[in-house]
Amino acid sequence: MIETRNLKKYFYVDRDRVVHAVDGISLTIHENEIVGFVGESGSGKSTFGKALIGLWDKTDGEVWFEGEKLPQKYSPEDFRTYSKKMQMIFQDPYSSLNPRMTVKDIIGEGLKLHGMASGSDLTERVAEWLRKVGLAPDHMSRYPHEFSGGQRQRIGIARAMIVEPKFVVCDEPISALDVSVQAQVINLMDDLKKQMGLTLLFIAHDLSMVRYVSDRMAVMYLGSMIELGPADQVYFHSKHPYTQLLVASNPEPDPKYERERKHVPIHGEIPSPINVQPGCRFFGRCPKAMEKCRNNDPQWLRVGQDHFVACHLYSS
């Protein structure tokens, strides 16, 4: 349904320094599927999501949506066309809602812009969506500051969903929320996916949650996708040394298990994405690094049913 081909997004710091935020990602997302994206901060996962729906201009590569190639750089008309089909839910429910607009204006804006509803019809649709996300229709005339974090996140969800998009990018939709509220938001998205046949790109750094939510899971490191596969495969049978370390770093809410497992912290920190060197990006931190990893980019290899990895360990 949506496909990226070698998608790249670079940022230019100055003439000599280029941030390779997203460096050639090819990914196909099927209809009614949730693909989870995990990675450390600075790995480029949010930039990928934004470049995918046109919030960033693409430096290179293509994005295809329902058989149609999307423009390299969106014009205002393009935004109008595509925002009806593709939407985004943002991480921070505090800064992503205009504090001077009422909830009705925030949620109804999309409908108005696309000429999908007006007047009492619009009010009715907003009320319906408020109910769907677990808020009350009489919240409509309130302002964002009158709501808690979890409630604001639901307003953000209602705003994205009301135009009935086909594809939604969720950029860390639950990281700012408490555990008990996270579950509310996750269940809500699960229900909406089933009811509306949604396709989702779910970006987060919480591995357990991504495994739980996603059908397939992708791991990003320094602008590249290094592993992709069915969520349980990637989590429980990781192939890439980085994914293995990432999963091993994820504390499980089970004290006995935590006491028994060996804790081997991953060495060092994610390097700067400025002027990335050739070779495997994980080379400097990888416990299994070999000589050929230094200078040769690893190929994208199939290691199981729908399971792919970019690592020299698996090349023959």
Binding site: S180, Q182, A183, R211, F236, P251, P255
Partner: protein, 340 residues
């Protein structure tokens, strides 16, 4: 196994005056910290976990804050309400603290080494050159590469994980008996979190230091804690060993927290069970149990009568369900669903 209690907190009440009225942030908290062990305080935002430890260390601004009741006894000595001079000899030297956001907790205009050195000068009166030397050793102890060079750098030159290590070095400078870590890894990536947690575990052993860990992350608690206190609406609603809390929970809030999280078991996804509703308004704390409105097992008695502390499954729980004749709720059974 001897369990020597090093810090004993009883009946702690903290209030804040605000424009909206008086907030009862902490409403009678009790806990013990054992020597050389980690005690975790878990709870969601706004439950009062940070205020609890900050009030013990005299770190809450007064006014508007005020400790209205309670005691905190550090090795037989009361430390609540003591003079500023006395407090200064305890803070840093006997109880160290690290904060959630290292970027805003360090002075951006001073080199890291100098900030650590300052602590040593104040508490031990060492010379500048001696202090700087010890600062480098401390940075080295927290595994900061090239400690000598790093000690002459400013906070902006450090990454988040490195800054947290620098903060730990500073807190360790006077070899405190207790280290308070307030959400030490919340702002960090899991891989860096793992490094910091491992470091804290090592230091705890090396220095036979006690750790008070404040966090909302049940994974981190399982990884780190010996004892756990679960906090809700200004009260510790359940406390016990980490195994008690995870495998034999007896307060519905603790059970609810666990049910709201995904379990990591291959090929298995149960629907998450959120805790509906939101915490009570602490401007007007409820007469009865604070969890009443959200509790699936609530009884009539819970509405108007604050629950007593009961011993259940070998640990303490603030819940009427443990009164003889109340409904029976088995936390154990539904928790084993999720065992790996």
């Amino acid at each position: 196994m001897s369990r020597e209690v090093i810090l004993k907190v009883r009946d702690l009440d903290v209030e804040f005056d605000t424009y909206g009225g008086v907030v009862h942030a902490v409403r009678g908290v009790n806990f013990d910290v054992t020597k050389g062990k980690t005690m975790a305080i878990v709870g969601e935002s706004g439950c009062g976990k940070s205020v609890t430890v900050q009030s013990i260390l005299g770190l809450i601004p007064m006014p508007p804050g005020r400790v209205t009741r309670g005691s905190a006894i550090l090795e037989g000595e009361e430390i609540l309400g003591v003079s500023r001079a006395k407090l200064n000899s305890i803070r840093g030297r006997r109880i160290g603290m690290i904060f959630q956001d290292p970027m805003t907790s360090l002075n951006p205009t001073m080199t890291i080494g100098k900030q650590i050195c300052e602590t040593l000068k104040v508490h031990y009166g060492v010379s500048h050159s001696e202090g700087m030397k010890r600062a480098v050793d401390l940075l080295d102890q927290t595994k900061i590469p090239e400690a000598k060079k790093r000690s002459n750098q400013y906070p902006f030159e450090f990454s988040g994980g490195m800054l947290q290590r620098a903060m730990i070095s500073m807190a360790l400078a006077c070899r405190p008996q207790i280290l308070v870590a307030d959400e030490p890894t919340t702002a960090l990536d899991v891989t860096i979190q793992e490094q910091i947690l491992e470091l804290l575990k090592e230091l705890e052993k090396q220095e036979t230091m006690s750790l008070i860990l404040i966090t909302h992350d049940l994974g981190v608690v399982a990884r780190m804690a010996d004892d756990v206190s679960v906090m809700y609406a200004g009260l510790i609603v359940e406390s016990g060993s980490v195994d008690d809390i995870y495998y034999r929970p007896s307060h519905p809030y603790t059970m609810g927290l666990r049910a709201a999280m995904p379990s990591n078991r291959e090929g298995y996804k149960r629907r998450l069970e959120p805790i509906e509703g939101s915490p009570p308004d602490l401007f007007h704390p409820p007469k009865g149990c604070g969890y009443f409105a959200r509790c699936p097992y609530a009884m009539n008695v819970c509405r108007d009568h604050p629950p007593r502390n009961y011993k259940s499954n070998g640990h303490e729980s603030l819940c009427w369900l443990h009164e003889a004749g109340a409904n029976k709720v088995d936390g154990e059974e539904f928790h084993y669903l999720d065992r790996l």
